[in-house]
Symmetry: C2
Subunit: 301 residues, 2 copies
């Protein structure tokens, strides 16, 4: 698989190289590669063909663009354990580079069947709206699980859903089944990500631990925690929202999350979605795709 | 024509409305409409049909998105005489809103023929690269006319060129002729814009006068001025680059631009491109499209 993902990297390089702009090429080369989850998914669903390599490259360009803008919006200092582009080169460079990768991605997307292009493009619209929803929800403590789930669907899962569906269309497979697989995987993925922010050390995360809540994000473990608390503790939790936490506060939150089993409940929610996704893929005899879900759910736990 | 452009506005509203997000709808409603040059061009080339109204709306959405990001990147305080979205709502809102309008525009674009979608998408890639080139060129005084022209082609003219070409494709007209018309018009348009920054008052511009040079932009009148100066005055001009100018400095620059006829030379350059565009349209018996060029070149002179 690593060799195949290498071909996707090359294809991305080629797309960016065709822009014939040295500054853009240098900035692109400085970006961390990440897990390339979406590329692997395309290749596993649609096979190792020129068209699937191209689709994978396009989606990864678009994903990279969205991360660049996310990091500007969240004022992130790190990305995958390295200094983020907005932090090292400034917001302007990160915004412009994001715009370039988005537009190049869309340009390449127009070479695919209209139904495939429309599917991916629609997901990017949802992703952009999800980002805005994330920021709006971060303005105050959000105890509402439905708006949290809708937001992470839009922000994270919609593009994974569209990736799986588009790859299925490319391969003549059932786009509904694969789309649902991608959707469940995407939501579970984000919940696990949100859990890791609570349970992991800063070193393992490659970014400050418990930073989501400091940034104003009320993720699923916090929503479950809130539901389990008495009024006094609820007020105390809300009073910590969106502020820098000291070690005592972090320990208080983590301790209560343990006794109320909030992390565990959030994990079970993700696990259930994951099981559904696994069952869908086992039904299609897609063991490798089922394994992606397993690996994702089990990561760092 | 006003009534027809109204239909484009309605179509844009409808596209944004389909996102079913109140915050996005409110922000969109707060944006100034501008001249809708691109929409008018589409309707004049491709006629007043459902498909041309849709194409015009898509292109105006994309154009609006690019302006939102431009204003963040340039730290602009005003846009068309009103406070800019980045200034009133903050950079984050402007970035996210730009991303939403871009992605919705691309999504709608996928309903057109692949050749049309690819043409517009490619222009947006050029536009994004042009923005980065603009920022890079602004880092120091740029006496090179070729890089200035390439940058304004990418940043401004490429989308106007693609607009005209795509509208021609929609109408079964010659995309090469109409594309060249749009390209010439676009470059001339930007040069005139750059000239107006020097010659107009802040009140008329709806933004501070001579701000381009303060921002580091060496536009065509400045390049011609530089070419006409002796070494001492060149050094003096360069020393003022990218800094806030006082009235004495502004008068010094304007006075020399007068005696060296730098504004006039820049205007002649734009005029020549405009004449070419007019001739192309007269050859196609497109008087209304020729008139757009006339109006644009003569504006505020």
């Amino acid at each position: 698989m690593r060799e195949r993902v290498e071909r996707v990297e090359e294809r991305m390089q080629q797309m960016v190289g065709s822009l014939s702009n040295e500054a853009v090429g240098d900035l692109f080369a400085s970006l961390p590669h990440g897990k390339r989850l979406r590329a692997k998914m395309v290749l596993k669903i649609a096979g190792y063909l020129e068209s699937s390599i191209k689709l994978a490259a396009v989606i990864e360009l678009i994903h990279a663009a969205s991360l660049l803008h996310d990091d500007v919006i969240d004022e992130a200092q790190t990305r995958r354990g390295e200094i983020s582009l907005n932090a090292s080169e400034g917001n302007r460079q990160a915004i412009m580079m994001g715009d370039i990768l988005y537009s190049k991605g869309f340009e390449e997307l127009t070479s695919f069947d209209r139904s495939i292009a429309a599917k991916i493009a629609h997901a990017v619209t949802l992703l952009s709206i999800g980002e805005m929803m994330d920021v709006r929800l971060s303005g105050s403590f959000n105890p509402d699980i439905e708006s949290y789930l809708q937001m992470i669907y839009q922000k994270t899962a919609a593009l994974i859903e569209a990736t799986a569906a588009a790859a299925a269309m490319l391969a003549g497979k059932d786009e509904k089944i694969y789309g649902l697989y991608g959707k469940n995987l995407g939501i579970a993925f984000q919940i696990v990500d949100d859990i890791l922010d609570v349970t992991q050390s800063s070193e393992k995360l490659g970014k400050p631990a418990m930073h989501d809540f400091e940034e104003g994000k009320t993720t699923l473990p916090y929503i479950y925690l809130y539901e389990s608390l008495n009024e006094g503790d609820r007020d105390k939790l809300i009073s910590m929202h969106g502020k820098k936490l000291d070690d005592a506060q972090k320990n208080w939150i983590r301790g209560l999350m343990e006794t109320t089993e909030s992390v565990q409940k959030a994990y079970l929610y993700a696990r259930e979605l994951g099981e559904e996704a696994i069952a869908l893929m086992r039904g299609e005899e897609e063991e490798a795709l089922a394994q992606i879900v397993e690996d994702m759910i089990e990561r760092e736990f």
